[in-house]
Each structure stands twice: as structure tokens, then as C-alpha cells.
Symmetry: C2
Subunit: 491 residues, 2 copies
């Protein structure tokens, strides 16, 4: 139905994006914010038709998709506010000291946009991490044109959202080339986009294999560019002894829900739960298994995801040391993901890398450690993660400092007594983490700090006030926060 | 005199650094700042002996070395203040909204250190960009242990500074492993350090070949890590017509000084000056040539640098389109760099990449464009640079927007009517720029914002106040700036 973009089409639209970049980066923060808010309005105006299309293409239920569109609209508006506030610009001014020896010149800096950004739509969030999702909103806020590579699993949904963005772009008199939408089932399209010399950054949410490939291509370019790949994660959950003793049944119930939420198709799905051998752990595993048996399988996003789920889970269960605990008792259909819990010992996790791999779907592996030392070893042998969770009492935390420090090393978000699923869209959120959770642990893909991914500092030395950008003028016409001679000020 | 570190020595000190990391990252901002200030004191206490040693190893004159040590002490103290102020932590708090549906948890984040940082000493700044230089100061401020690879051209100087750091470390009761000093003439030592799994970031100042190699190694690791290589730059200077008309002689004089300052051994040396064919440009080239003839050659850092200068300059002058304008008239000794000016047309610069290469030393190439369009083309064909300079009147700026926008794309610091040499150490400074000036245009290696290179956000969700780090506690015991529910506050 949709044809892959050819090299010459890509060449053409990258040239347009580059031209648009020089116009768009000169727009005011308010103009960018208005553009983003108009996209939010247009996205809302797509109405039921968009939801129906997305339901058909993704198998996601209506309520979830309505929520996700709502979140996407909220994101666009929230990042528009953040864009306009100008705090992300990190404006800094050091005024001249002419009688210093040698004289100190006037020096000012602020973040400026990197250039055209290529964003890869994700399969599991057709709105929030796709065409008008967080990466696109952040790039627009930063002052960058966006080229979307639609996810081939929901091309029609992506096309409708792209049309909404183009409509908003027209209404706001944005330059031609500010936004382009590309279809591509073949990996060549993605490669052409990343390798194009006018591409200046890449945003991606998806598998490790996909995200790492983009990163490698980008680093092989004559001019390497930043790639923000948010990749897989198994989001370990550490059950500490005192807490487990007091609330094993509640934790089992809470986690049965978190593991199977959205058929387990979240990058924050808790795929690894680590406890210490004890009667409480036995009863936790028993309760979790019982709860999982009661949860019905549901359709997954597309046939490729179902296939991968079955294969990866099958492979995990084939490992000598892994034992099935429970599966949903409801009969499973061809296109559905079967909720499943398995278990293995701490030593087998430490020794067998297969158990570290993400099984994308409603699956979790419970690791039974023989003691706290082994739990610490498990933490130390775990790769970088988006999140890690402690289920712990205050005493558990006080007396297990080594564990807690080891867990800090491997995560971007550290949750206490909660579940990792559910990513709040707010400035304090960090949705990122050490490799291989992402390709750059220093940046988030959720929250307005994500804008900074697509910007770099530009420093002006010895420019007269009238020739400086408004953001750096003495009189601060935009009333933004700036650090002036080492002091944060808004006046 | 100094032996290359063996693999097992490196293994041993990386393990120590990793252990130290877990202790050091828990120190307070004040403890880190005090440590940095103590290093500054110890560096000062090295007295004349250090200066004499550096003079012997680098051929740099005494006054310059005293200044550079002064700058290094200033940096350590300035970054210590910045560390203590806590603004670099980007602390953010979003308080819980329990009655939201679903309930919004309490979420807070701040920057935390990456882990052990390997710093490569540079040859041209034995103090300010070497053992106790900017990278080391930033890493200590961020909470990271540092492993220095001494530059083989000044091993004794580096050793003395390392001893000063170790003395400060002892006085401040810092953990063993917080700092290590490694010699290595062979590239294997550098490779072992970058490839070691416990190395979490790399700082480098030097040549493109060296910096790019470190970047490539780091990206080939199982866990890629950030590399901040500040590499070569030719720092283009654009002479605009009206300005040139009014002040050609002054500009020539100013630039003869800048080109030969420190025997041209600065990464901000103006290696490319671009003008438009005219009588004024002719007289500028004439005046610049005359001034250069009067400047005496001086000893360069070491024999490798002299050799490279002769070869690269020789190769540039061999190009068909390049013509020698003038050389110093004083006889040159074996170890000295001969001040030299050459010229070429705009078209030859656009076509011949050899003319884009940095010639590290007192050399500059004047490009004669046939008109403003060709000057714009030259700007568009120039790679990323640390700095770019406009010599321009207000009218020149008003009527040449396309040029100015093109120049913005290629630089980190944009200077108006000045010289690029001289890098002010202040928060507004950006010493960085698009590739190949650096491997990461988003970060600076001068100024306290350089601390952020060695840190990443860590987000705490649902932690009770008493278990949070001080930086994120409700009562703000450290009195640092934080963004609370989207509002910057210090109380």
C-alpha cells in the first residue's frame, strides 16, 4: 500500500529539510510552541477515525489508544510550554572586564538546534513514541526539522498523524521541509536516512538490534552524529527480605498486573524479579504463578512480535536451568501472547547470558538467590537498564548498602516499592539508562529535558547587544532564566 | 626513564578506581570542592622546580608556563566553586499527586557520576589540559576517579603534578584509587585504558588522528562509552568588505600576533583567513606578510611537532594552487617553527581537501574569494571548528545573513572583531564544536559546564525523604537551585 522511499526521494527531502532548518531555527520560542500546540489540536481533530485505524493496525484496545493519544497531546503541550520557558537553552552570560589583563571579552552562550533529525516510529506506541511522539516534539522544540520513518506495522496510522502535522505546519506558516514522512519496510531506507550527510541526529525506540545498528551506522559516517536509541530492558526488581516477609502476596498481585499490562509490550516491563531463597519467596512465586494463570492472553501488536515472543520465550525455557512456573490457563490464539512465569537460580543467571535477554511480552523470570551476596552478584552481572526497582523496607535499605550501590550503577530510574510500568511525563522523569538500555545514558527520551538531545551550545564572543539573539540580549526581552556572571537570574 | 604500564598494572588500577568510585561518589559536594582546592594549593607548592622541569620538557618559555599553571590553579578553584554550587546537578523534583488517576508518584532526579574517567594529557598544555587540567578537574567535580595517561613529551612534569594530586588526595582522606597516573609511549597503553570495561568515559585533547582513534575504540567496546576528544581546528576568520576597507592594517597586525602566539601551538590558532578579492585584501595580505617577516621563529614543543609542522606545511605549499606570501626573515633553527603565510583562491579551497587540514604551528592560509557568493561557498565547504571569527562592521553583518548562518553551522564559538586565540575560563565559554573539531558538539572542555560530560541523570521514584540524597531532600539542606514542579527555586 505504501511504497518505500527511494534514495532520490530521500535526497530531495533532506535538502528541503536543510533549507527549512535555516528558516525554522530563527523562529521564536513562542512560534515553535504555537506550532507544537497546533499539532496537538490537529491530532485531536483526527477523531475516531485515527483511533479505529490504529486499532486495526496495532491490535491495541480502544481505551489504551485513546489514552495514548491523550498522552501524546499532553506531551506536545507540555514540551511546548518548556520550549517557551527557555530554561532548556542554558543561557549563560559573562560580561566583559575591559581592565583585566588581558581584557576579558563579553562571552555569552545558549543551546542552538543541531539540524535535521530523523525519527524512527516505534511499533508499541503508535502515537506517543511515533510520528508526533516525544522525539518529534523535542526536535521541534529545539528548532530542528523532523524526518519520520514510519513504523511498517502501522503505516496508515503514521500517515494520518503525518497529515495532521503537515496541516498544522501549513496553518502556522512553517517552512516547506520542516517535516517529512517516509515509508520503508526495507532497512535500506533507514540506512539511507541515517547516513545522509544532512542528517544531524537520530531518535529511535525499539529493539537492541535495530537501535545498535543505527548507532553503528552513525559512527561510521564521515561526520559521526548522535543517535538516541532507547532499546530493550528487562527492568530488574529486587525483593528484599523484610519487605517480602511482610507483603509477599501484595507484591505478587501487583507484579502479575505489571508483567501483563498491555500484553507485556512496554520497554519498562519487569522481566526479571530477584529474591532470596526462603519460604516467603516460595509463596511469592506460588502467588505470582496463580495470578498469572488467571490472566487471559491477548493479541500482540503484530505477527512479528508474536513470533519473536514465542521464540525468545521458548529459547529461555529451553535453557537447562530454567523452570516453568505457570502460564495463563486460558487457551491462547495464534496472534496472542501467553502470560508466563519461569524461574532460575542466581548462579544460572550469572553464568548464562541467554537469561539476560529481553523477552518482549508478558513474561518474567524469577531468580532465586541463595543469599544476599548472590543477589549482589546478580546485580553486578546485570547490564544497563531503563529502570530498576527495590521492594524494600527501611531496614532493608539501611542494611544493604552494597546492593543499593550496585543497582544504582545499572539503571536510569530507581523505583522504590512500586512497578516500573507507567512512565510519568514530567521534567523529573528520566527515561534512559546505561548501555544497552540506551546508546547515550546522559539523555532522556521522556520529559522536556529530552529537548537537549537535539541541541548544542553556541558561544558568542564580543557581539554588540543589538546583534545578539533575543535570548542573550542584556534586557532579556523573553524573560528567561539565565546565569549571569555565575548567578541565576530572570530579570 | 618511565616505563609503559603493563596490562596487569592497568587491570589493577582500574579495579582500584572502580572501588574508589563507590566511596568517592558518596562524598559531599563540599568534600569534592575541598579536594580540588587542595590540589590547587599543592600545584602551587610545586614551585619553581615544576616550572623548570616543564621548560626543559616542552621548550615553552617561563612566563607562559607560570601563566598556564596560574590558569590551572584558577580552573581548579573555579570548578570547585561550581561543583559546590550544585547547579550542574540539574536537580528536578516533581511531587506526588496521589489523587490523580492513575496516581502520580513522587519523582526526582539529579546528575550522578559516570564512573572512572581516563584522561589523556595534551602536549601543548602541560598543565591546563594535562594531568591536573580541565578534564581532571571536571571529572573530580562530577564524582569520578581519574586515570591519567601522561603525555610522553612531558612525563616528568606530569609525574610531578600527579604527585601533587596524590598528596592532596592523602590530605583530604580520599579513597585509594581516586587517582592514578600511567606512562605509555606505545599506543597499546591508551588502547588498554579505553577498552577496559571499568572505564566509563574518556577525555582527550590533541590531534584528529589520536582523538578519532579513541572514539572508534570506545564505540567498538561491548559497552560503548562517551569520548570527549577535542581535536584539530583551523578556526576560519572571515574578513567582510566594509570592515576590511576601514581597518585592513590593524587586522593584519592583530592577526600576525594571533597566528604566531605560542609558536602557533594552540587549537584556536587562526589557520584560515578568508577575504574577497579587492585592493584592501591585497594590502591586508601585504601587511600581514610584512608583519610575519618581522616575527622570529621560536622553539616548538618537541621534535615530533616540528617535524609534523614542516611536513604538513610543506605539503600545503606543494599544492598547485597555493602560493607562499611570506616567511619570517630570521634564520630558523632545527627545533623552531618558521612563521609562514600562504594564499590560495576560493575555488582551490573548495576543491582541494588538503587545504582544509590543520597545520599545527605558526602558519595561516589566506583564501581569496572572487565575491561574497564564493565566500559563502567556502563557509559551506568548511568542516566543524572550535571557533569562527567575523571581522565585520554592523552593515557587513546586516547585509550578509546567508554567510553568517552558514558560519554558525560550523563553529562552537563565534567571535566578532577579535582573535580566536585566548580561551577565557568562564561558565559562558564553549570550547567545543561540530565534528571534526570534537567528537561531541554538545559538550565543552573549558568552563564548569564541562563537569556535565562525566555525569548522567539518575531518577528516584517514590523514595521517602529521609532516604533521598541531600541534593533532592524536601528541605534542600545544601541550598542548591532546583526545579520543583517546573519552577526554579533555591529554598
Amino acid at each position: 500500500m505504501f511504497k518505500d522511499a527511494t534514495s532520490s526521494e530521500i535526497e530531495n527531502l533532506m535538502q528541503q529539510a536543510w533549507t527549512a532548518f535555516h528558516v525554522y531555527r530563527k523562529t521564536s520560542l513562542k512560534q515553535r510552541a504555537d506550532f507544537m500546540r497546533t499539532i496537538a489540536v490537529e491530532l485531536d481533530s483526527c477523531g475516531d477515525e485515527l483511533i479505529q485505524t490504529a486499532m486495526r493496525e496495532t491490535n491495541l484496545p480502544e481505551a489504551r489508544l485513546r489514552n495514548e493519544r491523550g498522552r501524546t497531546i499532553f506531551q506536545l503541550n507540555q514540551y511546548a510550554d518548556a520550549c517557551e520557558s527557555g530554561e532548556w537553552l542554558e543561557a549563560r552570560i559573562d560580561t566583559a572586564i575591559p581592565d583585566k589583563n588581558p581584557p576579558k571579552p563579553d562571552i555569552r552562550k545558549m543551546l542552538v538546534p543541531l539540524g535535521p533529525v530523523v525519527v524512527f516510529g516505534s511499533s508499541n506506541f503508535p502515537f506517543a513514541y511515533s510520528t508526533a511522539g516525544g522525539d518529534t516534539a523535542c526536535a521541534f522544540a529545539a528548532g530542528c526539522p523532523v524526518i519520520i520513518k514510519a513504523h511498517p506495522a502501522h503505516p496508515q496510522t503514521s500517515q494520518m498523524v503525518a497529515d495532521a502535522i503537515l496541516k498544522a505546519s501549513g496553518k502556522c506558516n512553517m517552512p516547506k521541509g520542516i517535516f517529512a514522512h517516509v515509508h520503508g519496510a526495507s532497512f535500506e531506507v533507514g540506512k539511507n536516512l541515517v547516513m545522509h550527510p544532512l542528517t544531524k541526529a537520530v531518535g529511535f525506540t525499539g529493539s537492541f538490534i535495530g537501535g545498535k545498528q543505527l548507532f553503528d551506522w552513525a559512527n561510521q559516517r564521515k561526520e559521526p552524529i548522535p543517535v538516541f536509541s532507547e532499546m530493550g530492558s528487562i527492568n530488574p526488581v529486587f525483593l528484599l527480605p523484610e519487605k517480602l516477609k511482610s507483603s509477599s502476596a501484595d507484591i505478587a498481585k501487583m507484579y502479575a498486573g505489571s508483567i501483563t499490562l498491555g500484553v507485556g509490550q512496554f520497554c519498562t516491563n519487569p522481566g526479571l524479579i530477584i529474591g532470596i531463597e526462603s519460604n516467603e519467596l516460595k509463596s511469592f512465586v506460588h502467588d505470582l504463578g496463580k495470578a498469572i494463570q488467571q490472566i487471559s492472553p491477548a493479541p500482540m501488536l503484530h505477527s512479528g512480535i508474536v513470533k519473536a515472543y514465542k521464540e525468545k520465550k521458548g529459547n529461555a525455557l529451553l535453557q537447562d536451568e530454567v523452570h516453568l512456573v505457570a502460564e495463563s490457563e486460558t487457551e491462547v490464539k495464534e496472534n496472542e501472547g501467553l502470560p508466563t512465569i519461569a524461574t532460575a537460580s542466581g548462579q544460572s543467571f550469572i553464568k548464562n547470558r541467554v537469561l539476560h535477554q529481553e523477552v518482549f511480552g508478558p513474561y518474567s523470570l524469577v531468580i532465586r538467590c541463595k543469599d544476599m551476596n548472590e543477589m549482589i552478584e546478580v546485580a553486578k552481572h546485570t547490564e544497563g537498564q531503563l529502570t530498576a526497582t527495590l521492594m524494600a523496607s527501611e531496614n532493608d535499605i539501611k542494611y544493604n548498602d552494597e546492593l543499593i550501590e550496585a543497582v544504582k550503577n545499572i539503571c536510569g530510574r530507581f523505583i522504590l516499592n512500586g512497578v516500573p510500568t507507567g512512565v510519568e511525563v514530567c521534567l523529573s522523569m528520566h527515561h534512559g539508562g546505561p548501555f544497552p538500555a540506551t546508546t547515550d545514558s546522559r539523555f532522556t527520551s521522556v520529559g522536556a529535558d529530552g529537548i537537549k538531545r537535539f541541541a548544542r551550545p553556541l558561544c558568542f564572543q564580543n557581539w554588540p547587544n543589538e546583534l545578539l539573539p533575543d535570548e542573550l540580549k542584556d534586557e532579556n526581552p523573553l524573560r528567561i532564566w539565565r546565569t549571569i556572571n555565575n548567578e541565576l537570574k530572570k530579570y
